[in-house]
Structures are given as C-alpha cells and as structure tokens.
Symmetry: C2
Subunit: 427 residues, 2 copies
C-alpha cells in the first residue's frame, strides 16, 4: 500500500507560498509513488490535532487556482514552536503519521520549519517509522542560507516582497514629487527584522539613483539623530525625501511583542519604527514646510497578489516540484533549494538540495559589502542580484465581479484515527 503524503506550511504568509503547495501537489500527482495527499490545517498544529484536509477531495480547478492565491489561507499556517525537549509533541507527530499511514512529509517554511522537519525525520527513524521528510523553502525575508549564497540563492517569497517595495517606492516618488511642497518626507516601514533584504529592495525602484531615497537597515548603526540629520540634508538639497526603514532599524524600544517562535512581532508592538521616526523628525523640525508622514504596510507586503512576481511564482512552484523529486529519488532529510548560475550571461537558476540541518542553522543578513559606505543605500551588486527576481509585470490573476478569484477549498477533513490530543503549548 502506497504511503500517504502530508504537506504543511509554517510561519508568515507570502504571496507565493500556495504556488509551492501546488508544486508539491502536482509533483506527487505526476508520479505513482504516493497514496493520498493530505494538507495539515494550520501547519504543525493541524498534525498535532490530526486536522488533515483531504486534498484529493478538492476540485482540480480550485487546486490550480492556488498558483495565484496569496498568503496561506488555503491550508493555513502557524507559529507553533515545537520546543527543543518537547518530546511529547514530537512523539504525537509520529503517532499521527503512523495512524494515517503517512510516509511522506513536505514542510514549507523558513529556518525554524527546516529544523522541525529535521527533528521529525530523525525521530521517525528512531521509532522505525518509514518517513521521507523534505523541506520547501519559503520566506519573504530571504534570510535562509549563508551570505555566499551556496545554500540557497534566494527564497521563494522574496522576489514578490521585493516587487512590492519596488512598486510602492515608484509610486511614493510620484506622490512625493507631487506634494512634497507640503508633505516633504514620506516614511515607510519595511519588514525583515534583522535582515535588510526587504528594505533594500526599495532601491530597485530607482536603479539610477535619481530619487531622494534613503534606506535605513537593521544592519547599520544609524539612529534617529543621524537619520534626522541625513533627511534634513536631503531636504535642503532636494526639498523632499523618501525614507524606507526596516522594522529592525535601531530607534530604541518599541514595546515589542513576541510570537510563538520568540521572534519579535513588530506588528503588535506598542509603537512602530515609522511612528518613532515621524515623531523624531517632526519634533526636530524639518528644514522644509510641512510634516513627515508615516506608513506601515505591514502584512500587505507579504500578501499582495497583484504585486507577486511572476518569476517568484514560477520558482515557488518548481521548488515544490523539486522537493517531491528529491523525496522520491534521493530520500528524506533535504530541503529543495534554488541556486544561481553566476557564470551565465543573464539570469539563470537551477534547483538543488541541501541538508535540512544546514538550512536550519543559518540566518542570512544582507552582505556587508552590498551596503554603501554612508549606510543609507545598497550597491549595484545588490541591484544585479535582486532585479531579476521581480519579473516584469503582474501575474495573470483571475477576476470575477470585481473581485480576485482565489482558490476556494472545501477543506474536508479526513477521519481521525489517533487518540485525542491537546498540543503542549495549548494546554
């Protein structure tokens, strides 16, 4: 009897995570190695609670629509942290896999998820459960891997976040040029905690450096005072300024909240980086008429489907296919990966694999030599790296009565076969 498949997602949504899910589904269906395909509802929580969606019960039309459906609403995601010594939860995963005859596990997520997949894989082996666990990378932050790009060149999700920033900065420039006489400083807060890839993408809007754009990264030692000085210098020179600041930019305490992984959750903080900057600038007094204004796009930068990159969508899909290919031909313990052929004339990538543990234990920052000496910009090397990732134009999203027609899954749960269980963190 062929073993069944569980596919699950973890961590923050991205505009292309469902494309990877579709890649895994199509990859499994293209072969004869697999039994039924189940998706865990809300990631590892769904496995623990044995809430498993029967993907084979969904219509093929709706499944195909996953390609352009953003975020992770189709099968859900979670920030449930399986603790290091939380043997009980890990054992439970094995119990559910055994009860449902699951022999294949595809886990779409970031570093933490790769760590979880590796642990599940090892534990299954220990328990004599035949399980092939393969990871599918996903994070808009692009912070998986090393800064030599040998583990992964870029993560699915990043190209779309980069495209979002490219376009909103193009628009911010139209706006700032329009109304800079009375609203001279536009402050925009970008996601990315410790890793500056997302705010850096603002530069893609202006590769020739014609805009009055300044980028404040978590990786530099700028602060509110040096920012104010720089902005005022720009106001004297150009009369206006566009400020992109990482949520991890050093502005002092925000009253940060923490998510289930212990990571800072900036969206729930007591104040925002953008607000601190706006207040500091307005208090210091701008060298221009008018005031600084703040915008915090928050989740919009990780779920805006019209800003998804067609390149990113395609790669997210193919890396899902690749994960299935690895599972069948190479076995478990790997993460599928995207590598770039740097010797090629144009943009050229290929898909590969890396040990889950290796992917789990690296948190990439923007390479120091991609940041300009004044700490306010990124270099042409960054532009060369990132520009191909944003594609050229919007994806062909389907519209119906004015609305985007996203995948509508029935989400039919399969019968539970394991004993009832309450996950450790939910007791």
């Amino acid at each position: 009897m062929k073993k069944n498949v569980i596919v699950a997602q973890s961590g923050g949504p991205s505009p292309v995570i469902n494309a990877s899910l579709l890649g895994v589904i199509d990859g499994c269906r293209n072969r004869n190695d697999f039994g039924r395909i189940y998706a865990a509802w809300h990631g590892v929580e769904g496995i623990l609670k044995e809430e498993l969606i029967d993907i084979d019960a969904e219509s093929s039309e709706e499944i195909a629509r996953l390609r352009y459906t953003p975020a992770s609403g189709a099968i859900g995601t979670c920030r449930y942290k399986l603790k290091e010594n939380n043997d009980e939860d890990y054992e439970r995963i094995i119990e559910v896999f055994r009860a449902q005859n699951v022999g294949w596990f595809f886990y779409i997520g970031g570093n933490d998820s790769m760590d979880t997949a590796a642990k599940v894989s090892r534990l299954a082996e220990k328990h004599g459960l035949e399980l092939t666990a393969v990871g599918v990378p996903k994070t808009i932050d692009n912070d998986i891997g090393d800064d030599k790009f040998t583990i992964i060149d870029h993560t699915p999700g990043y190209g779309s976040a980069a495209r979002y920033w490219t376009h909103i900065i193009q628009q911010a420039e139209e706006e700032n040029r329009a109304i800079g006489v009375s609203e001279p400083v536009i402050v925009l807060q970008a996601m990315g905690r410790t890793s500056g890839y997302i705010p850096a993408a603002a530069r893609l809007a202006d590769p020739k450096r014609e805009m009055p754009l300044q980028i404040y990264l978590a990786e530099t030692d700028h602060n509110l005072d040096s920012l104010t000085e720089n902005v005022n210098r720009m106001l004297v020179e150009r009369g206006r300024c566009i400020v992109v600041a990482s949520e991890g930019f050093n502005v002092g305490s925000l009253g940060e909240a923490r998510d289930g992984f212990g990571h800072i959750e900036y969206g729930a903080s007591r104040t925002t980086v953008a607000q601190k900057i706006v207040n500091h600038l307005n208090d210091a007094g701008l060298k221009a008429r008018g005031q600084a204004t703040g915008q915090v796009p928050g989740i919009l930068q990780r779920n805006t489907s019209l800003f998804a990159s067609t390149v990113d969508i395609d790669e997210a899909y193919r890396v899902g296919l690749k994960a299935v290919d690895i599972a069948v031909t190479e076995g478990g313990g790997w993460m599928a990966t995207i590598l770039r052929d740097r010797s090629a004339a144009g943009y050229s990538i290929y898909y590969g694999k890396v040990e889950l543990e290796k992917a789990a234990n690296v948190a990439r920052k923007l390479p120091a030599d991609w940041i300009t000496a004044d700490g306010l910009d990124v270099t042409d090397d960054f532009i060369e790296y990132a520009l191909p990732l944003i594609g050229n134009g919007p994806p062909p999203i389907e519209f119906e009565n004015g609305l985007m027609r996203f995948a509508r899954l029935k989400r039919q749960f399969i019968s539970k076969k394991a004993p009832d269980y309450v996950p450790v963190n939910m007791r």
Copy 2:
C-alpha cells in the same frame, strides 16, 4: 489671438488624477478654441510663482502615459490655502493670467479647490479679465456633494481607493484565515477623515458577509471599549477578526497635525488610530491566543496604480474632457460632474455640470441609512452603489525592466512675464 489654458491640481493625490489631466489636455487639443496649454507646477503655488509647465513641449507618448501614472507627480499638487481675505494672492493670480494671456482655467481638486476656482472666476470678472474657470472633481474621499447624489454621484479617485480596499481586504482574509491561530486580529487604518466611504469599501471584498469583518466609521459612536467588546465577541465566535478603522474613528487624541487647509493630517499624527486600537486590544486581553497587529497603508491607498479601477480611470478622463466641453459651450463657473441614471438596469452614468459654489460648500458623509444598526457594517445599498465603481481587474500598465513605466515629463517652464512675487503663506 486665442487665449492660453492653465490646468492645475490641488489637494491629495489619487491614482487617477493624471487621467483627468489628460482629459483636459485632450479636450483642449480636440478643439480650435485654445492657445497654448500650460500646467501650473504644484497647483496654485505654481500660478502664484509663475512656474508654468509648457505641456505643448512634451512628447505625445509621455502625455498619453498620464492615463496610468498615479498620484500627481507629473505636474504636482499642493495644499496651499488661499485665505478668505487674502486679496493679495488672488490679485496675483489675475496678474499672472493677464501676463500669460490665460483665458481658460481648469482646476482639478476637491471642495476647497472648487471654492478657489469660484473666487478666481468672480475676481477675474471684477477686473475685466476674460476668464473661463471650470472645475474637475477629484478626491478619493468621495466627500464632494450631497448625500442624495444630486450634485455628483461619486468623485473620480474614489473607485480606485475602493478597489484598493476591496483587494487588500480579500488578501487580509487569506492571511487572517492562514495565521489567525497566532495572529488573530488584523487592524487596518483607512483614510477619509470624517467621511466613511473609504473604510466602507472594505465590505466590497465580502458582499455575502462571510468574513469576520468589522468596520469602524467616523460616522458612528463606537469607541475603543465597544470595539474591544465586539472584537472579542468575534474571536469567541470565529477565532479571528479583521478590523477596518477610519482614521477619523473616535479613539481620543492622536496628537494630530494639520495641513495647509487646516484639515487634520493623520499621517503626521503622534500616534495612529490603528496603534491605539492594537494597544487597547492587547491591553484588554484578546479572547484568543496571540496579538492584534496594525497596518497603516497611508498614501498607498491613494497612489497604487495597479489597484486603480479601470472604470475610475475612464471616468476621470471623461470628466476632464467634459470640463473642456462645458468651458467652450457653457462658459465658466461650473464643475464638471458625474451623475448616475438610477433607473437604468445596470451601471449607467452621464456627465453634467454644477455651479462651483454649490460643489464647494457641501462635505458629504456616508448616508446614515447605509450604516447597519450595530454600527459595524454598511448595507447592501452601499454595495450596490460602490461595487460598479471598482471595475474588474487591473489597468493595462506598461512595464519596462520590471518597473512600471510612468509618464516622464520634461517639465519645461515657460518664460516668466509678471513681476517676481512671494506667495503670502511663504513669506
């Protein structure tokens, strides 16, 4: 000798304001009544300073691109308030018009701009200057007119802001469904000061009311406590909640800033409505795991060209054409307007005119009978009104090397002919 034309923009940008500008330009070029076409750089400030862009010096390809170029960066806008008894500035406008042989004035803007156009028109008459001044309505707020829709059915700009909110709420639903287990409450702050048309458009994302969506308008008497109660009720029922709050929703003081018109400028306030809501919810304690998170899209809702409505773009263009038509056939003192044939089976509009004074002196709010009894939603009548305005799909924006290809004007200024002058508010 044919009289020259000045076209100018005022107030906040919109994704379709340049389409109206294009309508005025094309309208003038379609007739033989006009001399040269000048655009005032940064609205009335450009007139006062005699900074006039020679539109006839621009290439026709770039002018045509105005149709899909958002915000007002092409010719600029301003929030310069011509004060009631500021005779000096008004006299200066007449002086510049006379010096540049200007006989036609098209002013694209909201209520305040219509008031300015009316005053300029009267003053020209008083001074014996032959001047035809016609207004072109523009505001994403949809707050020009009366709530019987006899002055104007809807303003160019609103359909695009409504489409922005429709789609970001569709995406927020995908996100909230995805990760509601750990980030159960998404708070999004909408523009609109006193008028609830923009936050109301969130409902268009979900006409069948399937989402856990609550809309907090400036027009209701909800407050932070009642909001918290309602959100927690939703969390008990559905486990998650999407909160859309007007920037004018009553949360107590924000430390508001004021713009040149004396209007509250929420983007520059000391804190935001979204932040106050997030903090209040997290302090009160959510009846769910996780935290509320806030997003403040700010200017993105008024300049995102991929979210511009094709219906809105077309109407913005045609109302520009109509303004020229009115100027030639009916004379000055009018604002071009969009009216709806409510007896028609489908969506059917026609263009008309209204006295500038009549347009200037009304600030429309959402009709009380379009707000549901619980003050958390809008009715089906609103949906019927607003849904046709968002169109069905994105505009055909041109892309080049990954970037949106917006109009690039040379902005060649014509020679000054009037004496030097410093505007009253800039002394």
